[in-house]
């Protein structure tokens, strides 16, 4: 889809009438809905093409009528207005005929749409259930049956890269050939997890759960984005799904579980960490979670996101407790999220330590995981 885009446009314009008339999906050119890769999206795609074709035919008829009228009924060609046209047989009945024709078209579209809608709302038992949590500005995926959690952050690329704003550090991995249920929610504002190839959209609402599903038919990587305005980072939260065979999916799951168990054991041990270890880990956590708002040098965005460099609570010698509190619990009424439920004690300890000792901040103190445990 991306590699061809330099030549795509002229071709797209030339092929458009053909594409519309034949119903051929030319997703390569990126001017139509992308080629579906799931049973449900295929059904929706067919419905889209049906309405497009019906609409095109209607436009052709309307345009032809207007063009003919402009040609045939011109004053300068000596056309004489028919002052009684509205009183003719046609004039008396057109207001019935036209709505009846339109109603017929409407109902045939609506019946087809209604059956597809029932498929969208089909709540059959799923093989895999994934909870998709939107937050400013990343996606968190929880596999409900396996206790695996995947956090997808934007991968920073140059604006010339074919995957600019389309790639994440850790995509959601799903099996093909199985029914996957998505439970959609959000931790802060409205988001909308959208990947047109595999899933119809439902929005992510804080405090509520929405449901949608997919049955992916083709292996591959599918890319979408957030589709509900969620603030400054709205353009910067791609959603990426890697669809793999069920065997590969099982293998991936096992690896993840092992990694996860190791990290959890490390974080909950009573070990006292050295400052250097915390600083290194803290930088990693900061880059992944905090940098989008508070910026690379901790300078924030004036008036929108406060600066951490030289900030009162990031710097004050006795303010560590306040600092920990705001990271763990967030700040209501602002975009600052509560990180307590999202990060483990070690990660929070590391990032707080990092923030208190970087960009000229001179608090100098070292925060340990046990301090975070106490603050929760």
């Amino acid at each position: 889809m991306v590699s061809k885009n330099k030549t795509g446009l002229p071709a797209a314009l030339l092929l458009l009438p053909l594409g519309l008339l034949t119903g051929v999906a030319r997703a390569d050119y990126g001017y139509n809905l992308p080629e579906p890769a799931a049973t449900l999206t295929q059904e929706i795609f067919d419905l889209h093409m049906l309405t497009t074709i019906v609409g095109t035919i209607i436009m052709v008829i309307v345009t032809a009528m207007i063009v003919y009228a402009l040609y045939a009924f011109r004053h300068d060609k000596g056309a004489v207005p028919d002052q009684e046209f509205h009183n003719s047989w046609f004039g008396q009945w057109a207001w019935v005929l036209v709505p009846v024709i339109v109603l017929g078209i409407d109902l045939s579209i609506a019946s087809s749409a209604s059956s597809t809608l029932s498929s969208v709302e089909d709540r059959s038992k799923a093989d895999v259930t994934v909870k998709v949590i939107g937050s400013q500005w990343k996606w968190t995926y929880e596999y409900m049956d396996d206790g695996i959690k995947v956090v997808s952050n934007l991968k920073k690329l140059e604006p010339t890269d074919p995957l600019y704003l389309r790639d994440v550090d850790d995509p959601l991995v799903l099996p093909t050939g199985q029914r996957v249920r998505f439970l959609l929610t959000s931790s802060d504002v409205l988001h909308n997890w959208g990947i047109a190839e595999i899933v119809p959209k439902k929005i992510n609402i804080p405090g509520y759960i929405n449901e949608t599903w997919t049955h992916i038919t083709k292996e591959g990587t599918y890319r979408g984005q957030c589709y509900e305005n969620c603030g400054a980072g709205h353009a910067f939260m791609p959603a990426v799904v890697r669809a793999v065979s069920p065997a590969e999916y099982q293998q991936w799951k096992t690896e993840r579980k092992t990694q996860h168990a190791q990290a959890a054991a490390e974080a909950s041990s009573d070990k006292v960490w050295a400052k250097e270890e915390l600083m290194a880990k803290g930088q990693e956590v900061y880059t992944k979670n905090c940098l989008a708002c508070h910026q690379a040098q901790g300078q924030g965005i004036p008036g929108v996101f406060p600066a951490l460099a030289g900030g009162k609570i990031t710097n004050g010698a006795g303010a560590a407790a306040d600092h920990i509190n705001i990271v763990v619990k967030g700040k209501t009424g602002t975009a600052m999220a509560a990180w307590g439920p999202q990060l483990n004690d070690l990660d929070i300890a590391a990032v707080v330590t990092f923030e208190r000792n970087s960009w000229g901040n001179t608090a100098g103190d070292v925060v340990q995981p046990k301090d975070i445990k106490a603050a929760r």
């Binding site: 009528m65 604006p159 909308n192 119809p200 804080p206 984005q225």
Partner: protein, 538 residues
């Protein structure tokens, strides 16, 4: 103004003429003067909102964030919509209503002239509030960022915003009060001030269109006012209407907003449909085809428009029954709209057409608005909309609906009535250049957005991935041309006000065919007091 002086000499038998100087305008109770002020206000806001659109297109010209931070971009998106909807289209249509409704129904003035003055002067105050909401983050540093929510002001994002959001809420309150007062005035005028012989079914279509528009506004504006007041309470007084943590529901705001927001679409469209109902018969030299069908069609449209609001929210997770209802209701809107477009086409059919600027706009509207209707049916289909939702396809659709459907209708009205308003003919050659320039550049701007939207580009993003570059480059170039064309529009208006060929009472050969308006029985420009005795309609 020259209009006033010319008329003073002519009506010197009256013991009171128009007040002189600034008092004439500030204290005005004259429907024509207030109408003129509405129109100038709308013209100013057109350029203000247009400048924001130019910024948006400049930012989207290339991938990457070039011009400002994402919050400022979202602020421009938000205020572009608010300014264009509440500051431009509605006041322009209200200006035409003020000017033309009393003239068309043979009334001496609006029914409630002092209310009329108030409803206008609330607008500049609201505009100042809106400008303050943009400036707030810079005037009061540390009080939060710009209003970055989009014009729908959806919570919880709108709860996060700073003091700018409060200014926006107050601006909406004032704009709403202004609209409600103006609407009450219009309904009262139409029902009570008609010349005794003018029955409802003899009224020109424009009057009918505004009658339905005003009823819609009175019905739905208070809902918006309630919704933003609840938002204000959530922000400052500890309520949780829209906060799930406190037992509220963020989706409740969407229902309230769109209960107002969808009928609002018809508020924007109907006055222009009314203008079309005059322009097309005039230049086709033949009565309007299906006058009754159009009147009833507009009534059906107004009623249907009020019960399909949730089609803006197909993705919120409604029950299957509710979704089916909103889908079928929405698709059925194509019946009255199809009927209207058919009536206009058959008005041209077997007519004798000339192509002055208002007529050119009229024909372009029929074509492009049909196209918007077709993409509207596509969007009405729920499962497909779950793919289109919040993509540029939606942006393309509603700009095709609102620019031809509302704005071009107003342009048609401006050119149609400029001779009547000013007493001078505008420059026809420049008018035609303006038409072609603006129509072609409009299509260059918005047609490609259908493709980038289908390919997946979301709305309200400050930056996009490179696969959407080409369509955005075309769109931006079209956008700049479209913006530039309005300087010509401004020039034509100023030139016509300053002078030019004298306009006869009936500037158009086909005036009054199928449009029984009384405005053509008055001189151009009409005297300060329009009808001192009730005229008789045949």
């Amino acid at each position: 103004m020259s209009v006033a002086t010319a008329h003073d000499d002519h009506h010197d038998s009256h013991d009171h003429g128009p007040p002189k100087g600034w008092q004439r305008w500030v204290y005005s109770t004259n429907h024509k003067d207030i109408g003129t002020m509405y129109l100038f206000f709308a013209l100013f806001m057109l350029f203000f909102g247009g400048a924001m659109a130019m910024y948006i297109r400049a930012e989207l010209f290339m991938p990457g964030v070039q011009l400002a931070n994402p919050d400022f971009y979202n602020n421009m998106v938000t205020d572009h919509a608010l300014v264009m909807v509440f500051g431009m289209v509605m006041p322009a249509a209200a200006g035409m209503a003020n000017w033309m409704i009393p003239l068309m129904i043979g009334a001496p003035d609006m029914a409630l002239p002092r209310l009329n003055n108030l409803s206008f002067w609330l607008l500049p105050a609201a505009a100042i509030m809106l400008i303050l909401s943009i400036l707030a983050p810079y005037l009061f540093p540390g009080t939060g960022g710009p209003v970055n929510t989009g014009w729908t002001l959806l919570p919880p994002l709108s709860i996060q915003n700073g003091i700018g959001m409060d200014f926006t809420i107050f601006a909406i309150h004032m704009l709403g009060i202004s609209s409600i007062l103006a609407s009450i005035n219009i309904v009262t005028t139409i029902l009570n001030m008609r010349a005794p012989t003018m029955t409802m079914m003899k009224m020109p279509l424009f009057v009918w269109a505004w009658f339905f528009t005003a009823l819609l506004l009175i019905a739905v504006m208070p809902v918006l006012a309630g919704a933003v007041t609840m938002l204000l309470f959530d922000r400052h007084f500890g309520t949780s209407f829209f906060d799930a943590a406190g037992g509220g529901d963020p989706i409740l705001f969407q229902h309230l907003f769109w209960f107002f927001g969808h009928p609002e679409v018809y508020v924007l469209l109907l006055p222009s449909i009314g203008v079309l109902g005059l322009v097309i018969p005039t230049f086709a030299r033949k009565p309007l085809f299906g006058y009754k069908a159009l009147v009833y069609g507009m009534g059906v449209l107004a009623v249907l428009g009020m019960v399909v609001w949730a089609h803006h929210q197909y993705t919120i997770g409604m029950s299957l029954w509710a979704t089916n209802y909103f889908m079928i209701g929405t698709i059925l809107i194509s019946i009255p709209v199809g009927l209207m477009l058919m009536n206009f086409i058959f008005t041209m059919w077997r007519g004798s057409m000339t192509f002055e600027t208002p007529m050119l706009f009229g024909i372009a509207i029929i074509l492009m608005f049909s196209f918007a209707g077709v993409t509207g049916v596509m969007l009405a289909v729920v499962p497909a909309d779950m793919q289109y939702h919040d993509t540029m396809f939606v942006v393309a659709h509603f700009h095709y609906a609102l620019i031809p459907g509302a704005v071009f209708g107003l342009y048609a009205g401006v050119f149609y009535w400029l001779p009547k308003w000013t007493g001078h003919m505008y420059d026809e050659r420049l008018g035609k250049i303006f038409f072609w320039w603006t129509t072609i550049s409009f299509n260059i701007t918005f047609f490609p957005q259908h493709f980038s939207g289908l390919a997946g580009m979301p709305r309200r993003i400050v930056d996009y991935s490179i696969q959407y570059t080409e369509f955005n480059v075309i769109s931006s170039i079209g956008g700049f041309l479209f913006g530039l064309s309005h300087l010509l529009f401004l020039y034509i208006i100023i030139q016509t006000i300053r002078g030019g060929q004298k306009a006869p009472d009936k500037p158009w050969e086909g005036s009054q065919i199928g449009t029984p308006g009384l405005e053509w029985t008055l001189p151009s420009p009409p005297p300060f007091h329009s009808f001192t005795q009730a005229p008789v309609v045949k």
